[in-house]
Amino acid sequence: MSGPSRSSGGESINFTFDGKALLGRTGDTLAAALLANGIGLVGRSFKYHRPRGIMTAGVEEPNALVTVGTGGRTEPNTRATDVFVYEGLIARSQNRWPSLRFDVGAVIGLFAKALPAGFYYKTFFGSARRWMFYEYFIRRAAGLGAAPVEADPDRFAQRAAFCDVLVVGAGPAGLIAALTAAEAGEQVLLVEQDRVLAPSLLRDQQELDAVWADEVATKIRALGGRILLRSTASGYWDDNLITLTQRQTEPGQEPADGLAQRLWHVRAGRVILAAGAIERPLAFAHNDRPGVMLSQAVRSYIRRFGVLPGQRVVIATNNDDAYLTARALRDAGVQVLAVLDTRPAPAGQASGFPVHNDALPLSTSGARHHLTGVSARINGTTHYWQADLLVTSGGFTPVVHLHMQAGGAALEWDAAAQAFLPGSARQNVTSIGAAASAEPIGPTPAPANPGKAFIDFQNDVTLGDVDLAWAEGYRSVEHLKRYTTLGMATDQGKLSNMAALGRLAEKQGVAIPEAGLTTFRPPYTPVTMGLLAGAKAKDGGAHVRRLALYDVHAAKNPIWQPLGYWFRPRAYPTAGETLAQAALREAKSVRTNVGMTDVSTLAKFEVSGPDAAAFLEIICATSVSKLAVGRGRYTFMLREDGMVFDDGTVWRLAENRYLLTSSTGGADRMATHISYVRQYLCPHLRVSAVNVQEHYAGIAVAGPKAKVVLTALIGEEPPRHMSTIPAMIAGIPVLVLAASYSGERAFEIYIEASRAAPVWAACEEEVIRHSGCLYGMEAMEFLRIEKGHLVVGGEIDGRLTPHDLALDRMLNKAGGFIGASGLSRPALSAPGRRQLVGLEAIEGIIPEGAMLISSKGQSPQGHITAAAFRIIEGGSIALGQLEGGFSHHGEELIATSPTRGQKARVRVVAPHFYDVAGDRYRD
């Protein structure tokens, strides 16, 4: 018998690994259960496809990455050491084909010299064609597990919490700290990433044991403290905010109540970090073989999980911890063949084990993907042991990640322990226990064959790669990281950082702290994307507001279109109609008869007070104060740099009361803009500006018969174009504005949103009586394009000035509006800028979004912002932006859309295709 094993008994949990049915015990990690089943080979390495096993017993595991779960619950790159077995667990190995034991990609390992550090970057040199080949090759060969394509069926929740003291890590130090704080009357939150309290006591029973840990936990809870297991403090942010990721279920497991994980935002008065330390491997040739394990991990498997990771054992160490493991092995009846201690005698000599001082393994040998022997050179002679387990310990790295994330945090260098310890911190945080101190270690000699001595197992980086990066001129630790990929992926350098820094410092001839350190960024361990999205994961996070008249529209089963936060009817097809057919019928009805539509979503602001006109003349680039009571006009607004960013209408309702409308999509931006001017720029003005966007619902009635319809509805002469009157419809007070977006005689009726339905019903009855119909946004788009009216986000795209849009004659001559000084720069009214033009097809149909070119191969001189058809006569027309467009009327261009594979020959014309004089909406 060789390799890992466990005496049977108590196995009751069924799980599978690569399709093979296996049994595990309650409390087993997947790693422990695999070892108990004699499985040492768990994965293939990232780059060279080398066989890899289980190296650690914690979240730092770099090798044993597996995919667990199926369908949308699939979780790739899960550390086998960080998932507890459950009934029905399905785990699969990664980065291998066709199977783990026979992996075609492993051939790559034979050509390791062809894949040195920075290989990926080196492929950038030479021809692009070669790079395309390499790219394909690298993407297929190198990699981790594949992300699932199905949606995650589970829920992820988020929760906020406050506490006086947050203790991270429920080991002996964390438990005592939490109890002390709780006894002092403080509100305590204690978090532990494992599923048990004080897991280290299951590994190394001291004066304290698991019973003691439970007693302490009971006391903490009795004092009102809270303890979260299976919860990781993943990030430390400003003002003592710590994010916790709490697992309700294991990776890939179906949650009992649908809730998979919970993200906590904890604002803590102070933070105590008792996160422990991580053991480091030693670097020597072939130190990555399955069967090479870290010292503490071996003790965990023996004592916590009852698994023997090997029968014939060699130990390599530079510190005393490995002797604890030697004893644990001896207690379990296992023969320790040799202890190779890098320290000179007398280190370890009194231990009773066969100790060799000044010794480091030379290499390992293996067969059938498992360790078979260890060689070492001692006093000039090479020794060889047949062994199936090599225990290594290279010292301990305190977990200073959260301390460093706390910011402004100096790390202090402990030369004896060769470790960074937490120093002073900007925030209220202290570290205790193994996170704050480390035992001294002996020398770590350089291995004979650095090219096979792995330091970053997850990224297949060897000491030789660090040497190569140095030889190629990479001096800074940050460059080294990016060039070699050292310290990336799921373990984020938890094991590899110190070895790499040591080698770099040696090359630089400086001490490790002077070589620098890369930043430990959150999260400490990988976090599922769905957890960050929380409840918003399901609908992309967008919230939807409902139109006041939503039910009225829904009853007609329209085609909906998203617009801002809302869905608005795009068209109301009758039986069998397509969107295009319905929109054209609706638009024709407006041109020839009458139509009505819901315009409730327009941004609306009520501006009142003695300084209302002065206020509006800062916001709007047109003059406002000359407007008579009861009149309105078109207006537009500029950014400070002089570009048009929105447009709308302004109406003088009374001496000191105005209504300003602007675009739906820009409503939030306009509300903020108005608020900024009111609060910050002009606090001295006597004015009130209220956002009434959803206070009023709006109905537009447009068409040659609109005036007849309105007369019938309000029982009096409707206002003439750009005038407004208060009126009554269906016994409800309304405001009627005569304004036309469609190019026809048209009215907008505004009603308190809660009373909109009866007004809509009255309007609809009257429109139908005059053989009209409802129209949606598609028809509105046809109508406004033909008329040459602008849309924010289309023609008004934030890059055109009033001059470019031919709006300059409307500018307020007195100036003083926002954007006036920016607009005064001569380049903003230069003739060669992109300008608004109309385009009509000579041949073909103008594609949406096409670019405008003069002939094939030329760079684009402009683009199409909106395309449509002449509603009555037919024919493809469009609006667009064209360089120097005003002076190119009559010229021919090509409108081409390579992405759609469509093009048309077009003629540049004025951007008005219908009723240029505006006769149709005047009486």
Partner: protein, 87 residues
């Protein structure tokens, strides 16, 4: 995530606020074009304290000017602006 002490609402989480701009980027209407563009586009980027304009978008909706250290994020002064703060 910062904890920001709103003069009206007390300490609130950063997610409730919206950063708007730095105080030195404010352009008054009527400012000469050169000076205005300089304020907009060629501003200092000090590694130190700076006056920033924020808005409590959820809550009292006040506009705030706060002095914040760009490296340590420490907020040393905060005040609301608007008509109600005028003398």
């Amino acid at each position: 995530m910062l904890l920001i002490n709103c003069p009206h609402c007390g300490p609130r989480a950063q997610v409730e606020f919206t950063y708007e701009r730095t105080a030195d980027s404010v352009v008054l209407p009527g400012a000469p074009a050169d000076a205005a563009m300089e304020r907009l586009f060629t501003r200092a980027n000090p590694r130190g304290e700076d006056d920033e304009i924020w808005r409590l978008s959820f809550g009292c909706r006040a506009w705030l000017v706060m002095t914040r250290h760009r490296s340590t994020h420490a907020i040393t002064a905060i005040r609301a602006v608007g008509p109600e703060t005028l003398p």
